[in-house]
C-alpha cells in the first residue's frame, strides 16, 4: 500500500472509490491515468461531453452516458427520463439536433416488471417530448445482489449544423458566461430522496431536455463559443473544466447566480454549497459579450430558460482558475471538489 508520503503525483489508491464517479478531480484523474492513455485518439482527447465526427459532408455528434440513479423514482423524474434527457443534452451542448437514441439495460434478477414498464413509459414520453426516437437497445440480467435494480446506458447521435464550432476549448477573454436557470435542484432532490432526509418542500429534480432551448439560442446567433450542462460535480466543476480547456480565467458574480429558496435552505442545513450540487436541466454558455443580452432575453422567453442570467465574464488573467466576487465584493476561488460533496456537521 503506497504510503501517504509517496512523491508520485497519483492518488495513492489501488481500487475504485466512490469519488471517482462524482465528476470532480478524482474522476478527472481516472480519465487521465487510465482511459486516455488506453484509447489515445485526438477526438477523445478533446474531452468534450460528445464526439463530433466528420461523416461524408455532415458533422455527426455522438455521445454515451450511464445512469445509476438512487432512488430509481424521484420527484421530477426517474432513471429513464434522466437517461433520455442526459443524452439529448450532451448532444445539444455541441449544437447538434438530436436524432436517435439507443438504450441498454442491466437488470438485477428480481427487479419488478411493473417498475421496468414505468421506466420504459417514462423514457418513451421523454424521448417524444425531446423529438427523438429510441431505435435500438440491449438487455442483460445479473444475479440478485449484483446491481441496484437497473442500470441504464444511453447512446445518442445527432447532426451538427454546418458552421457551428462549439467546444470547451473555445471560450475567449471577453466572453459573457450565461446560465439558463437556478442551480442545485436535482442534486438536492436526489439526496433528500436517497437519504430519507424528510426535507419537506417542493424540491424536485430539474431533469429536462435542453435541445429546444439551445435551438432558440442558436436562432439568435451561431456565434456561441461553448456550452455545457453542469451535471454531477455542479456548476463549479463545469466552469473549472472549461477554464482549463480554454486556458482562460472565469470571474463570476455571486449575486447573479439563481438558487431556489428550497435548495438554499437544504444546502444551509446540510452544509453544502449549491455550486457543487448536480443539475440535470441547466446549461452554461460562453458567448461574445455583444450577444449576451439578446441571448438571455431569448432564453427567458423559453420555459426552461425563464431564470436565465449573465453570471460572469471570461478573462485573460489566472488561466484555469474560476473566481467569484462575493456579495461583499471580495473574491474567492470556486474550486472543483476532489470527490462527492458530503454533508458536514462541522
Amino acid at each position: 500500500m503506497t504510503s501517504l508520503v509517496c512523491p508520485v503525483p497519483l492518488s495513492a489508491t489501488e481500487t475504485v472509490l466512490l469519488g471517482h464517479g462524482s465528476g470532480g478531480k478524482l474522476s478527472a484523474e481516472l480519465l487521465h491515468s487510465i482511459f486516455l492513455p488506453a484509447f489515445q485518439n485526438p477526438v477523445l482527447e478533446r474531452l468534450e461531453d460528445q464526439a463530433v465526427l466528420k461523416f461524408g459532408g455532415a458533422m455527426l455528434a455522438f455521445t454515451t452516458d450511464s445512469f445509476v440513479a438512487k432512488p430509481l423514482f424521484f420527484r421530477g423524474g426517474d432513471i429513464g427520463s434522466l437517461a433520455v434527457h442526459g443524452t439529448v443534452n450532451d448532444l445539444a451542448m455541441c449544437g447538434a439536433r438530436p436524432v436517435a437514441l439507443s438504450a441498454a439495460f442491466i437488470l438485477e434478477e428480481g427487479f419488478p416488471l411493473c417498475d421496468l414498464r414505468r421506466i420504459a413509459d417514462s423514457m418513451s414520453r421523454a424521448a417524444s417530448a425531446a423529438g427523438v426516437t429510441i431505435v435500438t437497445g440491449d438487455t442483460k440480467v445479473v444475479e440478485r445482489g449484483s446491481g441496484d435494480g437497473v442500470y441504464v446506458t444511453t447512446t445518442g447521435i445527432g447532426i451538427v449544423p454546418l458552421g457551428l464550432n462549439l467546444s470547451a476549448a473555445n471560450a475567449r477573454p471577453g466572453d459573457a458566461v450565461l446560465l439558463s436557470g437556478a442551480i442545485g435542484d436535482h442534486g438536492i432532490a436526489m439526496l433528500s430522496a436517497r437519504e430519507g432526509l424528510e426535507l419537506d418542500g417542493e424540491i424536485a429534480s430539474d431533469s429536462a431536455p435542453l435541445n429546444g432551448l439551445v435551438e432558440a439560442m442558436l436562432a439568435v446567433t451561431h456565434n456561441v463559443h461553448a456550452m455545457r450542462d453542469p451535471t454531477r460535480g455542479g456548476l463549479a466543476s463545469t466552469l473549472n473544466e472549461i477554464a482549463k480547456e480554454s486556458r482562460v480565467g472565469i470571474e463570476l458574480r455571486e449575486d447573479s447566480i439563481p438558487v431556489h429558496a428550497g435548495v438554499r435552505g437544504a444546502c444551509e442545513v446540510l452544509g453544502l454549497d449549491p455550486l457543487h450540487v448536480a443539475n440535470e436541466g441547466k446549461l452554461v454558455a460562453f458567448v461574445p459579450m455583444q450577444h449576451a443580452v439578446e441571448l438571455v432575453e431569448a432564453m427567458r422567453r423559453y420555459r426552461l430558460g425563464r431564470e436565465a442570467a449573465i453570471i460572469g465574464t471570461v478573462v485573460e488573467r489566472n488561466p484555469g482558475l474560476v473566481t467569484m466576487r462575493t456579495v461583499f465584493n471580495t473574491t474567492r476561488i470556486v474550486d472543483m471538489l476532489p470527490g462527492d460533496q458530503l454533508p458536514r456537521i462541522c
Binding site: 424528510e198 435552505g265 442545513v269
Partner: protein
C-alpha cells in the same frame, strides 16, 4: 466547527419522554429533537445541530444587538 442552523418551530409534539418538532429552514422543514430546549414553543427560533436544537434564539437580544449594528451603518460616512 459545528454547523448549527437557525430554524423556526412550526409544531411540536411528544415522542415518549422526548419532544420533537417540525422546524422550518427557509422553505424546507425537518424533524428536530427538542430535548435540550424544553422551554421552546411553536413560533420560537432554535439553533439546530445534528438533528438537535442546542439553543433557543433570544430574539429580543438579537434585535437589540442588530439595531446597534444598523446604527453603526447609518453613521458611516459615504466614502468609507
Amino acid at each position: 466547527m459545528c454547523l448549527a442552523v437557525p430554524g423556526k418551530i412550526l409544531e411540536a409534539s411528544d415522542l415518549g419522554i422526548s419532544r420533537i418538532a417540525k422546524v422550518e429552514f427557509g422553505r424546507i422543514t425537518r424533524q428536530v429533537r427538542l430535548d435540550f430546549v424544553p422551554e421552546a414553543q411553536p413560533g420560537d427560533f432554535v439553533l439546530v445541530h445534528v438533528g438537535f436544537a442546542i439553543s433557543r434564539i433570544e430574539e429580543e437580544e438579537a434585535k437589540r444587538t442588530y439595531d446597534a449594528l444598523l446604527e453603526l451603518e447609518a453613521e458611516m460616512p459615504e466614502d468609507a
